[in-house]
């Protein structure tokens, strides 16, 4: 037991560290430790499980510090928190924002973490359920992505046209890479690096996110010589805990969104925080956001730990990554002898594995919450340190995280991209083009492209095969192909989940359009 606790403490400390480092996050942290953890298995492979789960849990809470205190996302899971968290810190309420975020994140991590491990035995039946029986297939994932897409109405700023342009730029960037049909390079301008790793778009997430959000905040703050804020007080910390508990409905709604996104393989984690932020804005139509609204912190923070927890379900049960960091976990667990695959009954029957995973995640979530709440005052002192002292350190860490994320192939290229997106981020910030809108376009663009292709090829609506649309563009469509798309169960109107999401999407779109332009953030 003592070894488990040691692994927990080490994982929590390391996870907090990589969470706090701007742009690093769980994925980078896990990759950096890969060789050491593989060797640790010779001691006890279950220690690796505890250690890894502790990193995942603690890094998600740790990344809130950089978002709130410095206005730079610690990882993509905290980018949405920054929109209202950083203005709060600048108003001298860093302790308030941080404690609200940490309390929400910890409680939802515990609630949805416990729910995750409780649901594990039932999940297989759900995810393999045919869409006609209420399951989730490719068409449902397509509808879900479209639904996430329309939340852009909520996260756009008051410059609606500029938000739309930002969205279009985000979509364009997501299409850079490899054409999903011909496998030919697309918009790469002859640069092999931009072809990506074949698993989607070619532009990597870390330099884009760090360049768009982190670096512009660092540079503009340095230009204004801003001493960010007053240090936090005990009163702020307690007020933050109180507001988090008071807004429990908002927090749970965020948690629910995060849980659903994590639960569904193929969606990707970054969407959940923006969706949660969007619903927070939508459910408070008379309030302004982007200038320090505590609800804008609680909503997305409710989502990210819940999403991390539930994304372990498809990861563990099927070896299907529920989020980007989960790919590394599959590799890591595989390397130490835990084979996660479509039939993980072997692993699930291993009670020690299951216990190590549950213990690692839940105990680290609780431990991180307590440690962070106790240390808020100390950590938040960074806001009263003259900016010039930590500016070079933070920039160096961002560059390191960006470089490392390119593995042994593309470190330098990633840094070049970081410089490019920093310039783009500075321009967007100055001229009020919505950076969150660009991120939504980027995250969803390539997913929607792939899922729309599959939906069109496989299904019909009311007896009209979507494949016929191909003919409008001059493609040949075979008669047997049409027969397939018309088989029983392939009518999307007979898919209850698809219809439900479609209706919800229309409502969200109309609502978002009515309430557009409410965020004072670009």
């Amino acid at each position: 037991m003592i070894t488990y606790i040691l692994a927990l403490l080490a994982g929590t400390a390391y996870g907090l560290m990589v969470g706090i480092v701007p742009a690093a996050g769980a994925t980078t942290g896990l990759v950096a430790l890969f060789p050491a953890m593989v060797l640790l298995q010779s001691v006890d492979p279950y220690l690796v499980v505890v250690f890894v789960m502790a990193i995942v849990a603690s890094s998600t809470t740790g990344d809130t510090f950089a978002s709130v205190l410095l206005g730079i996302p610690g990882a993509n899971s905290s980018a949405a928190t920054m929109v209202d968290g950083f203005p709060l810190a600048q108003q001298g309420k860093a302790g308030y924002a941080l404690s609200a975020a940490i309390t929400t994140s910890t409680l939802n991590g515990l609630i949805f973490g416990a729910l995750t491990f409780f649901l594990l035995p039932y999940y297989k039946d759900f995810i393999t359920l045919a869409p006609i029986d209420g399951g989730v297939g490719q068409a449902e994932l397509f509808a879900f992505c479209i639904m996430a897409f329309v939340t852009v109405g909520f996260i756009s700023n008051k410059f609606w046209l500029r938000s739309s342009v930002a969205l279009a730029v985000g979509i364009f960037i997501s299409l850079i890479g490899v054409d999903p049909v011909s496998a030919a390079p697309r918009f790469t301008f002859g640069w092999e690096f931009l072809e990506g790793d074949g698993s989607g778009g070619g532009v990597p997430m870390i330099p884009l996110m760090a360049g768009l959000f982190a670096m512009p905040e660092m540079i503009t703050t340095l230009q204004t010589k801003l001493l960010t804020a007053k240090p936090a007080s005990n009163g702020q910390v307690i007020d933050g805990i109180k507001v988090s508990l008071k807004e429990w409905k908002l927090s749970l709604r965020g948690g629910f969104i995060g849980a659903v996104v994590g639960f569904l393989p193929g969606i990707g984690g970054s969407i959940s925080d923006w969706l949660a932020y969007g619903q927070t804005v939508a459910s408070n139509p008379n309030e302004k956001f982007g200038n320090g609204n505590i609800k804008g912190v609680i909503g997305p923070e409710g989502s990210n730990n819940a999403q991390k927890a539930t994304s372990m379900i498809p990861t563990v049960l099927f070896g299907i990554p529920g989020a980007p960091f989960a790919v590394i976990i599959i590799g890591l667990f595989g390397a130490v002898g835990f084979d996660l695959s479509l039939d993980s009954t072997g692993v699930l029957a291993d009670r020690e594995f299951f216990t190590a995973m549950t213990f690692g995640f839940l105990a680290a979530t609780l431990l991180t919450g307590i440690v962070c709440l106790l240390l808020i005052k100390q950590i938040a002192k960074i806001v009263s340190v003259p900016y010039m002292y930590y500016f070079p350190i933070v920039v160096a860490l961002i560059v390191w995280a960006t470089y490392t994320s390119g593995f042994d192939t593309y470190g330098i290229e990633n840094v070049i991209l970081l410089v490019f997106f920093t310039l783009l981020g500075l321009i967007m910030k100055k001229y009020h083009f919505s950076r969150p809108a660009l991120m939504i376009g980027f995250i969803l663009g390539s997913k929607i492209e792939g899922l729309s292709l599959q939906t069109m090829q496989l299904f019909n609506i009311g007896g009209y095969p979507l494949l016929k649309l191909k003919e409008l563009f001059g493609y040949h469509v075979g008669s047997r192909q049409l027969d397939l798309a018309l088989q029983p169960g392939r009518d999307l109107l007979s898919h209850p989940t698809f219809v439900g999401i479609a209706v919800l999407t229309i409502i969200i779109f109309l609502w978002g359009w009515r309430n557009k332009g409410k965020i004072d953030y670009a």
């Binding site: 995810i127 393999t128 869409p131 030919a184 092999e192 990506g196 790793d197 890591l332 479509l342 039939d343």
Partner: protein, 355 residues
């Protein structure tokens, strides 16, 4: 407790030490070939010929796994301690795309002669139309399905029409999404390498939902022909085809099929060094020792199945067999099928015929 602390210290010291040999993988951690390389590296360094030297993995993802191999060719191959780990997709790309790497420049350390197995949902008749997951690595399956549906006697142009009439080729699915879509019955056919097939498809077969349709066979380097797979006997493409149509497959497109699946499957997991690398013989010996170590064999078979290792100069012989399969009619048929039936941006590389 003391053991744990010592273990942690040893682990950290080992990872900070300079590696003696580097396995260069064209993927990031967690992907198929990376996972294979990690397992093999652990067993490889146990071989007596390694004399206790350590192997570390260098991850080089990018450009559909071509970037790492291109980098090896350009710079890393000139380092004596670097071994390239390639997969079948690299073999396919070499034949039908513009890549910088060139198998003529390397010596084989060893490779695993593997197979790809195709499954379909029970009761599905491909002649009534079938859907299959797409991707540039699925070219052999695309051709095999066209041949299987059409039967004998057609030209490449006619097989393309048959394919476009019957087959819904589902693009844009990642590896894990493919398996889920297949499990839910949205896609009716899929393919998998032996390790994936064991872990992801076999459970569905056991449940009675799906069945093995065909596999491509395992190359016999003595005869230069693919033979049945002892793990899935009786399902070799040629055998299933002959059972359905009463005669063996033939023609330019069949030759294209034979060529491209062998380029993928026979070097599906392979280790290479630059020609003239002074470590070649020692690495070959280490691989041979690993392949004969019962403990290592048991670990590898558990993950992958019973497949043989090709070691020593037999590895180079495989490359010669593969080069001999590239003929002008086969290559032309392949490129035509790729571009017109599958929509792939495939190029005709005339220089491959003369190499």
């Amino acid at each position: 407790m003391r053991k744990v602390l010592l273990g942690i210290i040893a682990a950290l010291l080992t990872t900070t030490a300079v590696a003696d040999i580097t396995f260069m993988v064209p993927q990031k951690p967690g992907q198929g070939t990376s996972a294979w390389a990690e397992i093999v590296a652990k067993e490889f360094q146990k071989a007596p010929a390694m004399k206790g030297e350590k192997i570390i993995i260098s991850y080089n993802p990018g450009a559909r796994d071509m970037a790492g191999f291109n980098k090896f060719h350009k710079t890393e191959r000139f380092k004596d301690d670097v071994v390239m780990v390639s997969h079948g997709g690299n073999g396919i790309s070499y034949v039908q795309e513009n890549v910088k790497y060139d198998y003529n420049e390397y010596s084989s350390v060893c490779h695993q002669n593997l197979n790809i197995i195709v499954a379909k949902h029970k009761g599905v008749d491909e002649n009534d139309g079938i859907s299959h997951v797409a991707g540039s690595g699925m070219v052999p399956e695309g051709i095999a399905i066209a041949l299987m549906i059409g039967g004998p006697g057609w030209t490449t142009e006619e097989y393309i029409i048959i394919f476009k009439e019957h087959v819904t080729w589902i693009n844009g699915l990642s590896g894990s999404e493919r398996h889920l879509a297949f499990t839910r019955g949205e896609v009716l056919a899929t393919r998998a390498n032996p390790a994936q097939y064991k872990s992801k498809v076999q459970p569905l077969i056991d449940e009675g939902k799906v069945e093995t349709w065909m596999h491509h066979g395992v190359l016999n380097i003595e005869t230069g022909k693919s033979e049945d797979d002892i793990n899935y006997p009786g399902y070799r493409f040629e055998d299933v085809y002959e059972a359905k149509w009463g005669q063996a497959p033939s023609g330019d497109l069949y030759d294209a099929y034979t060529m491209i699946h062998t380029w993928r499957d026979s070097i599906q997991k392979a280790l290479w060094v630059n020609k003239g690398n002074p470590n070649t013989d020692r690495l070959r010996l280490a691989c041979k020792q690993m392949s004969m170590n019962p403990e290592s064999v048991a670990i590898l078979e558990k993950k992958i199945g019973k497949y043989s290792w090709v070691t020593g100069t037999d590895g180079d012989k495989t490359v010669e067999i593969l080069k001999g399969m590239i003929t002008e009619p086969a290559l032309k048929a392949l490129v035509k099928f790729n571009t017109e039936a599958l929509g792939l941006a495939s190029v005709y590389k005339e220089d491959l015929i003369t190499k």
